[in-house]
């Protein structure tokens, strides 16, 4: 905790603009130091990542070199080798698999969580308080307590080596985090809009479809992007349910790479690791504001 108090003395986070302007010089010097500190921290944090990107373009013999720029050792061999995939299955296949699973999960989560959230936020039915409390409880439930029976069930249903164990739970709104996020958002929409629609003769289905959903695009987009990223990164579900190499998603394929390749082929491993990060980083760059605000409000609106 002491680190927190050692910061340079400042006029407080919310100094009124006038005194700040009057003392412009010391403030900007302090600002300079703060920028220096922040940039130093960011550099330390991102150095390994930058190193991995650089190393993925280096010859295998030079992989451990701490420099960032490949220079004379530049090669695309790692990408060529990695792209060839595992035991005859090309890497693009894993990417397609991952995109398919993630896409299906996004659609399933959007549909199921928004419908459920509408019920919690807008319909006054008996028992909704109890169900809402249960739903919040499942938010903190360790997934591992239901893992074994789920596996037994999906195995009985002959769902091993299919994508159903990924999609069906989402289709059944078990991703409580997003139900909660959408409930919070729906509640903030003025009820007068519903009332007006009701007077016009709209039922819940039309209110949900014509009033609530169009006004909830930011929350729905946040749900979609987070679901995409989580599903894309998900390692545990494919580890348990997929054994057929052709069905592997990217994380499982990467993990198999470690076994399939010796240390001499680290270039390929790095190259495909970098490839696997691109969709997440791309989604982040494109929707940075939505993601940041989605995270921020998850903990704050009440």
């Amino acid at each position: 905790m002491t680190t927190l108090t050692e910061g340079p003395p400042t006029p407080g986070p919310t100094a009124p603009p006038q005194p700040a302007r009057r003392r412009e010089r010391p403030v900007s010097k302090r600002q300079f130091h703060r920028h220096l500190l922040l940039i130093a921290m960011a550099s330390v944090m991102f150095y390994p990542l930058a190193w991995m990107i650089g190393a993925s373009f280096r010859e295998d013999s030079q992989i451990a070199d701490p420099g960032l720029w490949p220079g004379q050792f530049f090669t695309l061999d790692g990408y060529a080798q990695g792209w060839a995939g595992i035991s005859g299955t090309p890497f693009w296949r894993f990417i397609l698999n991952s995109l398919l699973v993630a896409g299906l999960c996004v659609i399933a989560n959007l549909a199921a969580c928004s419908v459920t959230a509408y019920a919690f936020a807008r319909i006054r039915f008996r028992g909704r308080r109890v169900f809402f409390a249960i739903m919040l409880g499942t938010l903190m439930l360790p997934h591992h307590v239901i893992l074994i029976p789920q596996y037994v069930l999906f195995r009985e249903l002959d769902w091993l080596n299919t994508y159903l164990p990924f999609v069906v739970p989402k289709l059944l709104a078990t991703d409580a985090f997003f139900v909660f996020l959408l409930v919070q958002f729906f509640r903030a929409i003025p009820r007068e809009l519903d009332e007006a629609a009701r007077i016009d003769g709209c039922g819940h289905l039309r209110i949900f479809w014509k009033v609530i959903l169009p006004l909830s695009k930011p929350a729905l987009a946040t749900t979609a992007i987070f679901t995409f990223i989580y599903t894309w990164n998900d390692f545990f579900t494919p580890l348990i349910y997929l054994t057929n190499t052709e069905l592997y998603t990217v994380p499982l394929a990467l993990r198999s790479f470690i076994d399939a390749t010796s240390y001499s082929a680290f270039g390929a491993l790095f190259a495909m690791s970098v490839v696997s990060l691109l969709p997440v980083l791309g989604a982040f760059i494109a929707f940075q504001r939505l993601l940041v605000e989605g995270i921020a409000t998850s903990g704050l609106k009440g």
Partner: protein, 319 residues
């Protein structure tokens, strides 16, 4: 405000008056409610609640998937606490990981959030940048990166070498340091917590700081007497979320240790052990028991946290 207060929000503010007409409407509302809830109700029955009960039953059985579960009473639980060193090792690893990394995450997140909250230029860029690790930190790619940083001929040692410090210390294959590298990886992902703290700081009334400054309170005093109490609901929320996540950490330990939890069980996270018992040894009964013990431990920790929060968390006027 945190999620903890959310259940109260579900209380209908104006209950409909009991007339014949509103009765009919109430019936319609009930029908509509359950119709809209159908996915969740099915999901709760078949994906969460049902499996929980089944897993409780399985935890009292010997079950290998090949034959029917055989009831053995409390044997699984007994074995866990009296004859299973790896269970105790797994518990210790997960608790160490949690107790060290979760507070460190809060310290970094709070420090960065308060630094960024001082009207700094480029706030959105910094905020986004520090958040990136939280998005990718759990991925296999980053686990592979972590492995190649901390192995004997990895990045850390070669970087030390170029600074003139010769080292071939194998951080991830030495029991005493392996867990620390995973703790570091968790701390690396402080960004999500930082964003939530930042949003919380925005809601602290500026008058409080102005008044404190008029009274001559220094920055340390202002932090301890204003920032911390005003942020306490957010701190509780972040602690809860990070503890839940820490209990369930799996990917990195699996990838870094090749699924073994080694060296010498030093990265045998609880979930990794559960996975091994369930999906490597096919000891499904024992794995179910492990799942229930994890649930009970998390529930106790959450209860302790809420108990402490009752005295320590300041909810402002609303409480």
């Amino acid at each position: 405000m945190t999620t903890t207060s959310a259940p109260h929000e579900a209380v209908p503010r104006t209950p409909p008056e009991p007339t014949a007409r509103s009765n009919k409407r109430a019936l319609r509302e009930n029908l509509a409610g359950y119709a809209f809830m159908t996915p969740w109700l099915l999901g709760f029955a078949f994906i969460i609640g049902g499996p929980m009960i089944v897993s409780l039953y399985l935890s009292f059985t010997d079950y290998s998937l090949l034959s029917d579960p055989e009831f053995v009473g409390v044997e699984n639980y007994q074995r866990m606490f009296t004859g299973d060193d790896r269970f105790l090792a797994a518990l210790e690893v997960t608790l160490t990981y949690l107790v060290v990394s979760v507070p460190l995450v809060q310290v970094f997140a709070l420090f960065l959030a308060t630094s960024l909250n001082k009207g700094i230029r480029g706030l959105t860029i910094y905020r986004a940048l520090f958040y990136v690790p939280s998005l990718i930190g759990g991925s296999v790619a980053i686990a592979i990166l972590w492995r190649s940083i901390f192995q004997g001929n990895g990045l850390l040692n070669s970087a030390l070498g170029s600074l003139g410090i010769d080292s071939d210390f194998a951080w991830i294959t030495t029991p005493s340091t392996a867990l620390s590298t995973l703790i570091l990886l968790n701390v690396w992902q402080f960004g999500a917590a930082m964003i939530i703290y930042l949003a919380g700081l925005r809601q602290v009334p500026t008058e409080l700081y102005e008044a404190a400054m008029v009274d001559g309170a220094g920055p340390a005093r202002r932090f301890l007497s204003i920032t911390l109490p005003m942020l306490s609901p957010v701190i509780l929320f972040n602690l809860l979320m990070n503890i839940v996540a820490a209990f369930q950490a799996f990917n990195t330990a699996y990838v870094v240790s090749n699924g073994t939890g080694g060296p010498a069980d030093s990265t045998l996270f609880y979930t990794l052990y559960l996975y091994q018992r369930g999906f490597v040894d096919f000891d499904m009964g024992y794995a179910s028991a492990l799942g229930w013990v994890l649930l009970l431990i998390s529930a106790v920790v959450a209860a302790l946290l809420f108990g402490a929060s009752r005295r320590l968390v300041f909810y402002g006027d609303e409480s």
